[in-house]
């Protein structure tokens, strides 16, 4: 990371704001890296010979005669197989006490994949969690976030999904991770003996917030190395994207940009899309799958961050505490995996789509019955049966502690249908009913 000896050193900064410095300099390229008073920064604006730098670590204490050195290159990451098992900060520098990684230096945040060179995702990622595998099946090359309130156990669920999914590499991009959560991930991965296939880029709450902006690009540059060069199946975990977006709004605010909805920059959609669209299935077999976390404020999904995210990602997963069974479940109403249609009933058993939809529809009937009950109305026999069904559905399928294969999930579904309903109430295509309805 040290600049070359013969580089020109500037020592006169004309403007300093909370996050930026402006100085006169020549021959500078857009988005180039620079060192201001020993702090990394990046070129964000050039007007004639006036160059504006965004200082990642903040400008506190930078004097107007500070030394400024330009690197003549955008931010880069050195990629090689040696990345595996290592922990890095947002700049790609090791934080685990190990040596610097040697390898090919690649600019981060590189160009997009040509859409005609993508392959349609078609490989299922089994997690054993029925709330995901049955109702919201994940596919390699997909991008999907957990929409969760800060108090929900999303980091635990995500770590569990990561370890159960059969990925060649797991890359953690931690943004504003508390030190406790960082250590949690580290421990879980270590205990699972999976450390050799894990790479982490971590910005904790102790680090300057603007540094976070580099984390997803670092993680995805490493992911592209393993997916493209090594044809590996890479799973990228990004937590928490809300804190990433907050950092974007801090920068745009300090650059005097006009904010759009919820004080977010007008480019939020494109900024997020650039990250999430790195999820891809390559024809050669390599793939990048992104599972992210977007924390919500009081479950509000109309806020600009979850809202824009929802339009970009291929579905979203909601966690909810089901008080009837006292466990956390994957909410079947609000969760959605858009790519599930590519695998369910094709890579899984033929009855998968209908069992899935019917169970959710019956669960909705139970929700209506519950409303009735709460409003003090009498329940019909059907309502009562729907409620009984819902409790068992929640317990045996939706709860996140379930760990069974998909055929077993489907069989469980049919058992629950037959226990609580007759065939007409279930309303599934007759040929499937004839084949799978359990005989007593």
């Amino acid at each position: 990371m040290s600049p070359l000896a013969f580089q020109k050193i500037y020592t006169h900064i004309s403007n300093i704001t909370k996050a930026t410095c402006t100085l006169k300099a020549s021959g500078v390229g857009n988005e180039e890296l620079a060192l201001v008073h020993g702090r990394l920064s990046q070129v964000v604006k050039i007007i004639d010979n006036e160059v504006t730098l965004q200082v990642f670590g903040g400008t506190e204490g930078i004097p107007s005669n500070a030394e400024v050195i330009f690197y003549n290159r955008p931010p880069t990451l050195k990629v090689s197989d040696d990345l595996a098992g290592r922990f890095f900060n947002a700049y790609g520098q090791p934080i685990d006490g190990g040596p610097e990684v040697e390898g090919e230096e690649r600019p981060i945040g590189g160009p997009s994949v040509n859409p005609v060179r993508r392959r349609q995702p078609s490989e299922l990622i089994a997690t054993g969690i029925a709330g995901i595998d049955l109702n919201n099946t994940l596919v390699t090359g997909q991008k999907i976030p957990f929409f969760a309130d800060p108090d929900q156990p999303f980091n635990q669920v995500m770590a569990m999904v990561a370890l159960r999914a059969e990925a060649d590499k797991i890359i953690l991009g931690g943004m504003g991770l508390t030190n406790d959560d960082y250590l949690y991930y580290k421990n879980v991965f270590e205990n699972a003996g999976a450390l050799d296939r894990i790479i982490s880029f971590v910005n904790t709450t102790e680090d300057p917030p603007v540094e976070r902006l580099l984390v997803p690009d670092m993680a995805l540059t490493a992911a592209e190395y393993f997916a493209v060069d090594k044809n590996e199946k890479v799973l990228v975990l990004l937590t928490d994207m809300t804190l990433y977006a907050d950092a974007l709004s801090i920068v745009s605010n300090r650059m005097d940009q006009i904010p759009s909805k919820d004080s977010m920059p007008g480019s939020l959609y494109s900024d997020l899309a650039k990250i999430y669209e790195k999820a891809v299935q390559f024809p050669s077999g390599g793939s990048i799958t992104i599972i992210a976390v977007t924390t919500l404020s009081g479950g509000d999904i109309t806020h600009a961050i979850p809202d824009n995210t929802g339009y970009i990602t291929e579905g979203q997963l909601f966690l909810r505490r089901d008080t009837d069974i006292g466990k956390v479940i994957v909410d079947p109403f609000r969760s959605l995996s858009r790519l599930k249609q590519l695998v369910i009933g094709k890579k899984t058993r033929e009855d998968h789509p209908q069992v899935m939809n019917t169970a959710v529809r019956l669960y909705a009937d139970a929700a209506n019955a519950k409303t009735k009950l709460e409003n003090g109305f009498d329940l019909t026999d059907y309502d009562q049966r729907a409620l009984d069904f819902a409790r068992e559905y929640s317990e045996y399928l939706l709860a996140i502690d379930v760990n069974i294969d998909i055929d077993k999930m489907l069989d469980t579904g049919w058992e629950l249908f037959a226990r609580h309903f007759n065939q007409a109430e279930v309303g599934i295509k007759q040929e499937l009913v004839d084949k799978y309805w359990p005989v007593k």
């Binding site: 500078v28 007008g266 891809v280 009735k372 109305f377 295509k429």
Partner: protein, 592 residues
């Protein structure tokens, strides 16, 4: 055309703010002129969006990473143009009409601009006009067969005034840049014409005689649209809905099933995997009307959300220009744009960088005008030779937070005549397509000419039946609200019947399984048959003693009707379920 500078204007970069690049120019430049900025041996395409003194503000259609002050720029003397000629069908273009299949490597490289049409491909040209004929812009000179569709070679749209055909080549094999005719203008000057012409995408092609009001049904095979809120050929519609409400599935269904000669899909700032779905499925799927593969009648403009934002803005115009080109050949075009909100956001990002005073939600002030101007380019037209052509345009809108009171939705609502509101509530309860039957509307249903066409092509009383069904849905919703407020046993039994009869219509007509091989597409004859069936049930008087029997009974009716929807029309299986249905109805039919 607009600027015929013999010498190209040049300039040097003097400012860079993300993809807004300021160029100090030496010479004249035009608003919206295209320029190329040289960076490390590649030329980055840009468009002039503001001129102040000798500074041209350009939006670069690529990443500007590494670009330096002083880099040279060359101005091309024309606006952003589409290349129009044989070979557009089945292609996949980026927003600037570069062929994505022609690009090398897995990743897009900034400045790699590929040609839109294959200059070496041989076409069998057949003249349609002869020497001595008087012609004007858009008149047909000849045709080639492109994927079994007659592709007319026309007098270029930019030709003003009358021309005489001096010569035209006889039937034979030609490449697109071969001269196929020479036209003489009124001053006696000769103009050679090839099979290729260029048109600035932001201007409408108006080389037609007349644009009447849309007057006939545009079939989509989606029941809740065709039956309840029909689209008209040459009409405009839009589909707003929160994420996860099924916009994309619906658009894909339309692109597969709609009765159009040509389908143009502008994937504008949306997910790349959704576009991949089209690439993968369309070469496999058959067009039920012609038996040919769907990809043969389709062109995809793919400017996905991670591709450069400025090109996203251009992509919808490129798509519309291609549609207008094919319409001038007397063809029926369906243009789909997913999503127009992403297009509006691209406008917002640029307006923001130019530090313009913002309008509502930081969108540019002229957003409503831009949207209405774009929608107005659709339509049914009579060409100069009295043939007809049409562009039916359906755009999706992705309202922020699912709130329909945001600028893009509101501006679109003012211009689009059909409104297909996707409801979160319906989507949550898996009632797909989640088009709300009460909120949605089609103004075309009120057009006397559309009504008459429906009467003539479907049934005399069709429009009355549709209106009846809409009423049933409203009364069903009212009944359901009453039941929820007052409780099952505190409302008259009739309320339950009204609600369940509307549920029959909802389940059988409105809901449709886009992933079932039979149910996904319903021809009009079948829609009429099923509508008659459910109206018949609605008009039947049933005998019930207790409200508790109503729910299970109607569930049985719905189940039989659903099985009918899943069966081949009028097959043994279909008739079996129909017979079962008849028996169920007879059980409780009130004997007079």
């Amino acid at each position: 055309m607009i600027m015929n500078n013999t010498k190209k204007t040049t300039g040097k970069v003097s400012g860079i703010i993300a993809n807004l690049v300021i160029v100090q120019v030496e010479g004249p430049v035009a608003q919206n002129e295209i320029c190329y900025i040289s960076h490390d041996g590649t030329d980055l395409m840009a468009e002039v969006i503001k001129i102040i003194g000798n500074k041209a503000y350009t939006q670069v259609f690529e990443s500007t990473r590494g670009l330096k002050i002083g880099s040279p720029a060359i101005f091309e003397g024309h606006m952003l143009e589409a290349t129009l000629g044989p070979g557009i069908l089945s292609s996949v273009y980026d927003g600037l009409m570069h062929d994505l299949h022609e690009m090398t490597g897995i990743f897009l490289k900034p400045g790699e601009y590929t040609r839109a049409l294959d200059p070496e491909k041989i076409w069998d040209f057949k003249p349609l006009a002869k020497g001595g004929d008087q012609v004007i812009a858009a008149d047909w000179l000849g045709e080639v067969i492109e994927n079994s569709i007659p592709h007319r070679i026309m007098v270029p749209f930019v030709f003003e005034g009358r021309y005489t055909i001096k010569s035209i080549v006889p039937r034979g094999l030609h490449k697109i840049y071969d001269t196929i005719a020479v036209l003489t203008d009124e001053s006696g000057k000769d103009h050679p014409v090839t099979m290729v012409q260029y048109w600035p995408v932001k201007q409408a092609i108006k080389a037609y005689k007349e644009k009447p009001r849309p007057f006939k049904l545009f079939q989509t095979g989606v029941r809740t649209m065709d039956t309840l809120n029909p689209m008209a050929e040459g009409g405009t519609g839009f589909i707003p809905g929160p994420f996860g409400s099924g916009k994309t599935v619906l658009q894909h269904a339309l692109s597969r099933q709609a009765e159009a000669d040509i389908v143009i899909v502008a994937a504008c700032g949306e997910r790349a995997n959704e576009v991949v779905e089209l690439f993968v499925e369309f070469p496999q799927l058959e067009d039920p009307r012609t038996g040919r593969k769907l990809i043969e009648r389709t062109t995809i403009i793919a400017n996905t959300s991670n591709m450069p934002v400025a090109a996203r803005e251009a992509s919808v115009y490129t798509a519309m220009t291609i549609a207008e080109y094919y319409r001038s050949m007397g063809l029926k075009i369906l243009l789909l744009a997913d999503s127009t909100s992403r297009w509006a956001q691209a406008l917002r990002e640029m307006s923001n960088r130019m530090e313009e005073l913002p309008g509502p939600d930081a969108f540019p002030m002229d957003l409503p005008a831009i949207i209405s101007n774009f929608y107005s380019r659709a339509g049914y037209v009579y060409l100069n030779n009295n043939q007809t052509g049409s562009i039916t345009f359906i755009g999706t809108v992705s309202p922020a937070g699912g709130n329909l009171k945001e600028p893009v939705t509101e501006s679109t609502k003012k211009v689009a005549r059909a409104f297909y509101a996707l409801s979160q509530q319906r989507a949550d309860s898996k009632r797909y397509p989640a088009i709300d039957p009460i909120e949605s509307y089609s103004k075309y249903l009120e057009y006397p000419e559309v009504q008459e066409s429906l009467r003539n092509t479907i049934a005399d009383d069709w429009v009355d039946k549709v209106m009846l069904v809409k009423n049933i849905m409203i009364r069903g919703r009212e009944a359901s609200e009453q039941i929820n407020i007052l409780g099952d046993d505190s409302v008259p039994l009739d309320y339950h019947l009204t609600f369940w009869k509307s549920e029959v219509i909802d389940s059988i007509i409105l809901q449709q399984d886009a992933f079932d091989k039979i149910d996904f597409n319903t021809p009009m004859t079948r829609q009429k048959y099923m509508l008659d069936k459910v109206i018949n049930i609605y008009e039947t008087n049933f005998d019930f003693d207790s409200f508790e029997d109503v729910n299970p009974y109607f569930k049985r009716i719905i189940n039989q009707l659903k099985q009918m929807n899943y069966s081949e029309f009028q097959s043994e299986q279909f008739k079996h379920f129909e017979n079962e249905l008849y028996k169920i109805i007879e059980e409780r039919k009130l004997k007079k």
